[in-house]
Amino acid sequence: MFSLRQASALAREPDVSAVVEATERFLASASGPACFRQARGDPEAAVDAAAFGRLAEVGLTGALVPEDLGGLGFPAGVAVLLAERLGWSLAREPFVENLVLPYALLLALGNNARAHALLGGMAKGGSVVCVAFQEGAFALPSAEFPVARIEKVGNGLRLRGRKRFVVGARASTHSLVLAPLEGEAALLCVPSGAAGVTRQDKLLADGTFWSDVEFDTVVAEDALIERGASCIAALENALDVANLALSGELYGLQTRILEMTLDYLKTREQFGQPLGAFQALQHRAVNLYTRAQIGRFLLGEAVDATETSAQAQYASRCKARTADSALEIAKEGIQLHGAIGFSDEYDLGLYVKRILVRSAWLGGADFHRRRLESFELAEAAA
């Protein structure tokens, strides 16, 4: 009923289908609400190397990496399909933060030898990369925006500044940091363990963490991956891919809540009736179903349109749509469950909280609607 398969041509391609199914099998055996519950709030429960090994096994680490760099070379749309399954299973594997976002960024830099080297290392499972660019609430990247600074010192580069909301920093071996160098944007690859890199982990509503990272460190010159406007363009592109993947994840999360809610309505009785026989509740369930479906067919088209000129539009449309409907379904899911939906023992709350966190990351619905307005204005002016 909620499958993206019928909504996307890419999803029906046999090799894509195969990796999605392998992911499903992996998730069924290794992840899910119980794991998520157990790890929440535990600062020691950072994703470990073993987890990345398992992801590599089912093809998740290499899915987006070009074949000549040792990956499977799938288009970015596949990330949406995989993230949807991760969301549905409430997996805590850092797929979007440590795989989709850095991969898409490095790939978007084009023919860049240092980026390719890093990609190769990532595909093999050795390097784990996070992207550190925000210093405040999410905004599109620009060279003027950051307070952090890179300066040349001797035969090295000195990075100073504080990056916030760095998702996936805890498991990372390297951070890709955006900061200006001599007045233009630059992307620096900083080892997470370097002297002068201080991480402050922040507990989130869902029991996971992201980090504020303070940099006052000197790295070698070859840590400079790219400089100039291409950094900004590549990051904006990568953020679109990441937001598409997040939209897939949010879609998976909300459809799971909807399934739980429909099951509950069918089995729980009150006033001598199954709850689901009450027409007012039926109509509300239909409204939730309808909102999810509008997201489903939008996502399907978006999956098929990644890496085209329509990608940015689809990214913001998908994030706005799925964040809104996920929050609505989360809220109504609690309400339709009644008191049990408000109790921590029941798994529903885990999904709800995950939705809160994932919808806030990389811009909420209102941010993305504003961005779409600016596209419209630009189009009208052209």
């Binding site: 009923m1 026989a277 239909v286 409204n287 479906q293 067919f297 939008l298 088209e301 609607r369 307005e373």
Partner: protein, 389 residues
């Protein structure tokens, strides 16, 4: 390009197809009909344009090419609607094109298809629907119109209401009971009849928009030949459901909303309202509601085009499109302020559109299965929610 040659429009690129359409429309559509004040202009007003499209082979974008349609894919069909609505082209007498024609193509006999399809395309036959009855509304199972066999005819008695297009329709397709015992649903048949036969009288009903575009049909011992039954005897319920699915796809297209969106956007630009961030916030939500729904519409049209039945899920399209359409009209009327409620101010076309859209968007959530009935259907047939004990 020869319009009558069997062109495969789907082989054109989207932008070429759009350019072709746009060029034709802008060259040929009669300017005085743009943004017409009536939801459905009278036949004498639009027959010329109907004929122009018909001659070009563009009157039935959704029909298969072998029956004289354009055979468009879902994406092309949406472009067709976008261009029509962009230019403010009013609704034609399209009940035969979007509703009855597709049903006849699927369920009619070869003789029926030969007889009726060409005349739908030419506009010679204009169809109205005889479903609702007084006291039945959305509840088809309480149908009271009876068809009693007599030699090779049926004698039909009954009373239909809320038939759109009745003012200038020439033919009626209607549901009637052909069996008295058993489940109501198993004793209904679908008939077709000209409206100018003995025993049929019409009474038009004026809407709150002030137009007598729909009405009642009184059937008093009307003789309908047996050959005018569509589909099997007692099999009308299944065909009616099928027909409702076409109807829901058709009513689930974003075309009505597109027209409203275009009108509101033009008004907002002209008046400077577009620069107001509070307006922009509300407008953008609705624009995206409409735009995102197009994806769902394309999906269901693809299913249909691939010969698959869209299933009861299609009800979500109609709910979403008609409710979005209404919200657009309501926002428009709200921002148009005093000018929005002036009913005859011809010098302010944008604002006047607001009032018209408010009216014409009202029945969209009522006809062809109200939003409430669609929600009941989705709850039961798609979500599998239980009936009360």
């Amino acid at each position: 390009m020869n319009a009558l040659a069997p062109i495969d429009w789907n082989s054109l690129s989207d932008s070429d197809f759009r350019a072709e359409l746009r060029g034709f429309i802008e060259a040929k559509f009669p300017a005085h009909l743009r943004n017409h004040p009536r939801r459905i202009p009278r036949w004498e007003d639009t027959r010329e344009w109907f004929g122009t499209l018909s001659a070009k082979g563009w009157i039935a974008p959704n029909w298969p090419r072998e029956h004289g349609g354009m055979g468009l894919t879902a994406s092309k069909l949406l472009i067709y609607f976008e261009e029509v609505e962009r230019w403010g082209i009013p609704r034609l007498y399209d009940m035969g094109l979007f509703m009855f024609g597709p049903v006849l193509i699927r369920h009619g006999t070869e003789a029926q298809k030969r007889e009726y399809l060409p005349k739908i395309l030419s506009g010679e036959h204009r169809w109205a629907q005889g479903y609702s009855e007084p006291g039945a509304g959305s509840d088809l199972a309480s149908l009271r119109t009876m068809a009693i066999p007599e030699d090779d005819h049926y004698i039909v008695n009954g009373h239909k209401t809320w038939s759109t297009f009745l003012d200038d329709a020439t033919h009626l397709f209607l549901l009637a009971c052909t069996r008295n015992e058993g489940r109501k649903q198993d004793g209904i048949s679908l008939f077709i009849t000209p409206l100018d036969v003995v025993g049929i009288e019409r009474r038009l009903i004026t809407t709150i928009a002030g137009h007598a575009e729909l009405g009642e049909v009184f059937l008093d011992n009307v003789r309908i030949p047996g050959a005018n039954m569509v589909g099997p005897l007692h099999g009308g319920w299944g065909i009616a459901k099928d027909l409702l699915e076409f109807e829901r796809i058709n009513n689930g297209s974003p075309k009505l909303g597109l027209y409203a969106l275009n009108q509101l956007q033009e008004y907002a630009k002209r008046t400077g309202l577009a620069a107001d961030p509070r307006f922009a916030e509300r407008f953008t939500r609705l624009r995206l509601d409409l735009q995102d729904q197009s994806c769902a519409y394309r999906h269901f049209c693809s299913l249909l085009k691939a010969g698959r039945t869209p299933g009861p899920e299609v009800s979500l399209l109609k709910i979403w499109s008609t409710e979005t359409y209404q919200r657009l009209a309501e926002l428009f009327l709200e921002v148009a302020g005093e000018e929005g409620v002036e009913a005859d101010r011809v010098d302010v076309p944008g604002a006047l559109a607001a009032l018209r859209l408010y009216y014409r968007s009202r029945p969209a959530t009522i006809y062809s299965g109200s939003s409430e009935v669609q929600r009941n259907l989705l709850a039961k047939r798609v979500l599998g929610l239980p009936a009360p004990k």
